[in-house]
Subunit: 646 residues, 2 copies
């Protein structure tokens, strides 16, 4: 590890996004999703199952009477909402929204116990039961989300109340868990607190939080297995008795450093790996970092869909095994790809390599954006690469595959996660240290480097065109590195500095480094071109043998029934003909692709199911590809990312 | 319907099988499976979960003390065993076995209640509860199996005791169910009694059994739905609440004449359809027959694997929808293909069309035979067309897919069903009526026509060679039809009668009819040739796009890892080269096939998962195909029926 390269992310509020593509997404989140979720949290959405989330906190605070209702992790919904609100307020002041959030924070603070404990499920149902079902009951998960919220809200508003709440909560957890005698030698069933505690350490500079995060990571999966002991002691239900992955569902079957393949619940896994990368960076723990890179290689090179989706199995929302990437039964939870982005940024903080940013961009532009409809009102939880609505309706194996986005209230987990990702997008786009600023994603706007107050104005045509400019608006004239990522898909990029066509730079791991004394008005112009790529999958991926997937820039494309007719499996793309660019009609700026192809016809079959003497007959057909993330914005129909080829 | 064509099957004992292929299978059943199952029924197999089956009958008969143990349909295990024993005794006398069976029958008779009721679950647990959970509790299913056993044992031994037991049982059921007021307007959750009652009608000539069978069929799925009413009345658990198929799991969501697609549990479905075909034949009910042919067309032309396997989904062991025939998650229960054979024979009785016999033969030689290992000691319940053992171990979606046959005791349903099929094979090979004898399958041996005492000696090289001869050994010199099936796969057959190369015959629906006054020594010789076919699937089957499956005669072939290496999905068959015949090494007489192919290599990939710039590199490879039914007789490994093509 070369600690000199370590970078840190910037606060979301330091990146004033102004981008033809992303501003709209962000506004959708701010004006649609955040208010809608507020209603959901308060059971004000007609026809929706009540969330009971705010009510649980009021009951826990003694402000109302009643029972705890909702899932055992219901508290995390308000935490995710507050986190998104915090980010949103950091770049868009809104007094009404802030007042509402402050009121919620008052209730949360009132619900907190004198010792700092905070989880409404146990506060309402009996504190004597707390910490007795870490495997299933998400106390530390809710705490992790609340810590993220406390920090985000402080960053966005400067108000400490929730931050102080989560500090007390973290202190309570620190008094409860650890290697010392008398403490619980345990760890959470659903990870997230690890990365949250590292962030709290950053915020407070209190080493104990980092130590606690590291403890949770190191203790995980050590023999005797804690969850097993816990089950024996408290009789907790073990849902995975009949499963193939057993304790690895929680990544808790063996120590993290012995885990070489991503296993179990995908969201939990990548949240854990994010925490591991954060802890490795802060502690300089080489073996932990090795575990991170091993797991990264496994996921990114053997268990990830071309859309950046991960977790191929519905059962356990889990990873399966290397190269097992079925398209039509894919799970690919939106949250898992969001977690992949969390993890990628933390890997980038350690080691600025293009590969991490490429995956981050892939997950962001494809699976994450696919997670929401263009109007921000409907959501995918599951992100398949091939859909036949009839199969989803008639085959139980594909029942989990959604062929239509669902309204928010039916799935409480992915939409708020999208909200907190998109409202904090700036903190994924760049990371900085004393010597350099790395631009990982090109998002239009104005970003202020907290290290040296340098201000850059970025303009970007992505994902529709590859023209990017980075202008120095403010600087101190000191020597400093600007490191710009050359995306893996941009193989014919041109670079200009102040108009100079062959400027001096050094390329390291996919980043071009300009080291100079910057002056106001300096401009770097990148022109990536937008090559259309016809991708193949590694021959070990049996599902994609004989198939190709078309992409342009960061966007993966797909075929939809509405453009190409029923029976997409019958289509194949002619490889010897050019694919053309076509203005799209689904959304502003959209670019579709048009290829020559053919369709396998029924001619000669006469209703037979098998035959040795029927010649295959094909009909010429133009194939229209649309960006994957836009699918199902024009009604229900078949879709496929991978298509046959001729 | 042309009732003049109706035929009836012959008793198993009238077909003295002497065939290089089938004699061995039959002996395996007689000498291995029947004794083994007897031990299983008596809990004498070390390491196996106790069956408790015989014990349940002893307790019900008051001969022992104890509780009912085992599944609610445990009684059917002894019934299936007795049925197979009955058939076996019809062609191979065995005093010890017969004495053992007689003793079991004494116990069964002693357990029967004064009113004829017979089901040990309710006799032991309380007769007041009987007939209160027809949906789940299999009373009528067990009765159906016992009726089949009573008839088979009578046919095999001439002993009436069990036949009289089942007649009393059928009378009890007849007093309980029917359209009359005061009777239950209901039907079974698991079908089989329908076809059993028609067979009992044949045996006894008592019309009431036919009427009752027809009642069960006609009442099925009528509104108000009986199982729903039953659930409301008795609170019975409904396992399919969360399913896509609901009451159609039992084929009980709508009247059978409105069922146009095979739905729900595949074994139940084809048992029902078998009963429907039997009842349609006996009653001349045209609309019922239409329903049979519609359902047949749906299954055989849209929902059947090339191996004759049916029921593509593990969930509910069920049919899904047209052309949904995934290879690697296939269920294809052995019992379902056995049921397909029951159904096909009954369709043939109505209408001797090659199509029915082709399917019968396909299911028999492929999925049914695949159901048992060559030594008769291990069994497949599930019959996938593509297996990767790693996937079965690591992906819950494929957990049901067996990559290794299991010892008998782990699955109590398919092995005894195989035993009763194989011991009665003769009754599937021919059917007869006053005017004609139809030879559907060519099984070597001597068969006596009960209509006219004509005796034929048949010699057959199937499935390894296509030489068949049919010699008249005894006859009365009357004019009579011999109708011989020309299999769908035999497109270049030659036919000779007493050496004459172009004998006179009429071909109708795939059967060649010789009508003449037969003389002793007349010989028909058929030479089918054994064309090797490279089959394609209908373009609507998305799983098989770009793939082929090789067959020779009735046998479907497959690739195994042991012959072709790991990663079978990387292989493709060169279509422009001859496939050669090769002596096999797994079993005597076996013929393997050798084709030229190629293997997609890893060259150029360097561990990448997706790439646009890697050219596909292939290596030449000889492909060795072995008969599908023989797979997994040489250890664990990958297998595939469908292979890519070049």
């Amino acid at each position: 590890m070369n600690s000199k390269l370590y970078t840190v992310p910037i606060q979301a509020g330091l990146y004033q996004i102004d981008d033809p593509f992303w501003s709209k997404k962000r506004e959708t989140v701010r004006t649609q999703m955040i208010p809608y979720q507020w209603k959901a949290l308060n059971d004000q959405i007609e026809g929706a199952a009540p969330s009971h989330c705010i009510k649980n906190f009021k009951i826990a605070a003694g402000l109302e009477e009643g029972r705890f209702e909702g899932r055992v992790f219901q508290d995390s919904d308000v935490a995710k909402w507050l986190e998104a609100v915090g980010y949103s307020l950091s770049w868009h002041k809104d007094e009404d929204l802030e007042r509402t959030a402050d009121e919620v924070i008052d209730i949360i603070a009132a619900a907190q116990q004198p010792d700092g404990y905070l989880d409404t499920y146990y506060i309402i149902n009996g504190l004597d039961k707390r910490w007795t079902n870490l495997m299933n009951n998400h106390e530390l998960y809710c705490a992790g989300h609340m810590i993220e919220a406390g920090i985000a809200y402080y960053e966005g508003t400067g108000k400490r109340k929730l931050l102080d709440v989560v500090i007390r909560l973290a202190d309570c957890i620190d008094r409860t868990f650890g290697p010392e005698e008398g403490k619980l030698h345990a760890y959470p069933g659903h990870e997230i607190i690890e990365m949250a505690l590292v962030r709290l350490y950053h915020q407070t500079k209190e080493k104990k939080y980092l130590k606690l995060a590291k403890y949770f990571i190191d203790e995980r999966g050590q023999e005797p297995l804690y969850f097993k002991q816990e089950r024996e002691k408290y009789g907790n239900t073990y849902y995975w008795e009949d499963s193939l992955f057993q304790e690895q569902y929680f990544q808790a079957g063996k120590p993290v450093r012995e885990q070489t393949e991503a296993e179990g619940h995908a969201v939990r896994a990548v949240y854990l790996y994010s925490g591991m990368a954060s802890a490795a960076k802060e502690t300089g723990d080489e073996s932990l970092w090795q575990a991170c890179t091993r797991l990264w290689d496994n996921v990114a090179r053997k268990q990830m869909y071309i859309t950046g989706a991960i977790g191929s199995s519905d059962y356990g929302e889990a990873f399966t095994f290397d190269y097992d990437l079925p398209n039509d039964t894919a799970y690919g939870e939106t949250c898992a790809s969001i977690g992949m982005i969390f993890w990628a940024r933390r890997m980038l903080e350690m080691e600025p390599k293009r590969e991490y940013a490429d995956v981050m961009e892939r997950a962001l532009f494809n699976t994450c954006l696919s997670g929401m409809s263009l109007d921000g009102r409907k959501f995918f939880y599951v992100n398949p690469l091939e859909v036949n609505p009839e199969a989803c309706r008639k085959d139980q194996l594909k029942k989990h595959v959604e062929y239509e986005r669902q309204p928010w209230f039916e799935c409480a987990c992915c939409p708020p996660n999208l909200a907190r990702l998109i409202t904090s997008l700036g903190s994924y786009a760049v990371t900085v240290n004393e010597r350099a600023m790395y631009l990982h994603l090109y998002v239009g706007g104005r970003v202020k480097n907290p290290v040296n107050d340098m201000v850059l104005r970025i303009e970007s045509g992505l994902p529709w065109n590859g023209e990017v400019s980075v202008t120095v608006e403010e600087c101190r004239g000191e020597s400093y590195d600007l490191a710009l990522r050359m995306p893996g898909w941009a193989d014919q990029a041109s670079v200009r500095l102040n108009g100079e066509e062959e400027p001096k730079y050094v390329e390291v791991d996919g980043y071009i480094h300009f080291q100079r004394e910057w002056r106001q008005g300096d401009v770097i112009k990148l022109s990536f071109g937008m090559p259309i790529r016809v991708n193949r999958a590694n021959p070990s991926v049996k599902e994609n043998i004989g198939k190709v997937s078309v992409s342009r820039g960061p966007l993966v494309y797909c075929l939809e029934e509405i453009d190409n007719g029923k029976g997409l499996h019958r289509l194949s793309l002619c490889m010897d003909q050019e694919i053309e660019v076509l203005p799209g009609t689904i959304a502003e700026g959209e670019i579709d692709l048009k290829g020559q192809g053919r369709r396998l016809s029924d001619e000669g079959w006469n209703g037979a199911l098998y035959a040795a003497d029927v010649e295959e007959v094909y009909e010429e057909q133009t194939l229209i590809f649309v960006p994957y993330y836009m699918w199902n914005n024009r009604g229900v129909g078949e879709m496929t990312v991978w298509v046959g080829r001729k």
